[in-house]
Amino acid sequence: MAEAAVAGNGAEAKMRVWRGDASGGEFRDYTVPLQEGMVVLDVIHAIQAMHAGDLAVRWNCKAGKCGSCSAEVNGKPRLMCMTRMNTFEPGETITVAPIKTFPLIRDLVTDVSYNYEKAKTIPPFKPKPKEADGTRRMYQEDIDRVQEFHKCIECYLCQDVCHVIRDHDDNKPSFAGPRFFVRVASLEMHPLDTDDRLEFLRNEAGLGFCNITKCCTEVCPEHIKITDNSIIPMKERVVTRFYDPIARLLGALGGKKS
């Protein structure tokens, strides 16, 4: 598969890229020379250089860490900079479209401010008072669990793929999305945090909308187990608080905040 895609043998990348804005547009075909080691973002840059100087694309680090170049490559939400060209069949036409869930600005660029608005609604970290010697202590086993959540690069691919808002625009006001369930989980499980976000999760953040179909986990470029390690544990804490009369009676199953 990869042999045809190496430098010097005249291999070409056939691309079908979305061109247009919120008022309309179309897919346009471009062909550019393919070189060894290219990723989709390189090909988009080659199209800019050779055929379409006005092709709008948001990008920054080219290393899978800034979370800017999210797009839908052959219909799958991906980071363009982390999608290698040699993973496609030689000669295959590769479709590149903007992420679907957010309003289109132009070409491959969307307005992701929905996410920034949701971020503002999350009750912030509220640490417990310092100990007598003026410090706060955390233990490794408590940090290990939340460390995973801190890998998030905010590419919003999970938000894009989540069908709750991708296919149902009307749910946007009442649903925060997987990225912010990860954020809330990192705070709720934090050994020093004292705030309680379970009521927020159930109501404002709309955790109940999630039907755990795990697409967020499938697309995460940082391989955060969003569903198993943040959403389901948060659902279980919400169950303890609101749906489990026996746990409420016992009153002790949920740790410090439940």
């Binding site: 919120a22 052959n74 233990y139 408590d142 109940g208 544990p233 919400v238």
Partner: protein
């Protein structure tokens, strides 16, 4: 939003429909077989083996009584008395929810493929809000597991003398797989220690949480393996009871 050509059901070109189709076939086949087997009200015991679909057998009229809770007035299949527990456990399981929401409800059928229904309220309303009772089914599954292990132990007893048949091994594997399925459950993981914010103060629960977490990573694989195995166990006992096959005796 008028994004026209972009606004298709999906732009995916791979065989995204394959996985939901296989799940429909797999879960559908199991649902049909288990319903049929549960309604047979017979041929579920071939001494010393009791089919897991009928265990524990709670009626006086059972071919093999585990606990005689229901008197001779009860004439329906004793499987009905018990199957709602493992059935409800699997129906509300976080893995099976993913599987059937995708395959049967097309909500969504696959990632980045549009939902079939135009409206969506997830698990915020009846009936899906009932998924929140999953942990009760987890608790209820534990006594069932104890009975299945008991069935596996008495499967060594061939009319008073010790023996091992193929059925003994089948029942042991069945009890083991169903135990793995129950203990790898997400609710179990939460109850063991996931609900804590600090593990430092609860080293025992931290250790339990660690073990369950490892198991939980394989919850899907265990769910399928145990599902197929429990079905095959019933098939094996049923074929023995019908006299279609003879049990292979090792000892």
């Amino acid at each position: 939003m008028s994004t026209l050509a972009i606004d298709k059901r999906t732009l995916r070109q791979d065989t995204w429909w394959l996985e939901p189709m296989l799940v429909v076939l797999g879960l559908g086949a199991f649902a049909v077989y288990s319903t049929w087997a549960a309604l047979q009200n017979g041929n579920y015991y071939a001494a010393p083996y009791l089919s897991p679909f009928y265990s524990p057998c709670l009626a006086i009229n059972c071919e093999h009584v585990s606990v005689p809770l229901f008197g001779s007035w009860y004439n329906w299949s004793p499987a009905i008395l018990i199957l709602w527990i493992p059935g409800g456990f699997r129906l509300t399981c976080y893995y099976y929810r993913k599987a059937y929401y995708r395959s049967f409800f097309w909500s969504p059928p696959a990632c980045a493929v549009r939902d079939a229904a135009s409206g969506y309220s997830g698990e915020t309303r009846f009936p899906f809000i009932l998924q929140n009772i999953h942990r009760y089914f987890f608790w209820a599954s534990l006594p069932i597991l104890a009975f299945l292990w008991w069935d596996a132990i008495i499967a060594f007893n061939f009319g008073g003398s010790f023996g091992i048949g193929l059925g003994t091994l089948v029942l042991i594997a069945n009890a083991a797989l169903l135990s793995l399925y129950s203990f790898s459950c997400h609710s179990c993981r939460h109850l063991c220690g996931g609900g804590l914010n600090s593990f430092k103060t609860a080293p025992g629960r931290y250790k339990a949480w660690g073990i369950i977490t490892k198991l939980n990573e394989k919850h899907m694989q265990i769910a399928w393996t145990s599902l197929v195995w429990v079905g095959l166990t019933d098939v094996y006992v049923r074929l023995l009871a019908h006299g279609v096959i003879q049990d292979l005796r090792f000892i």
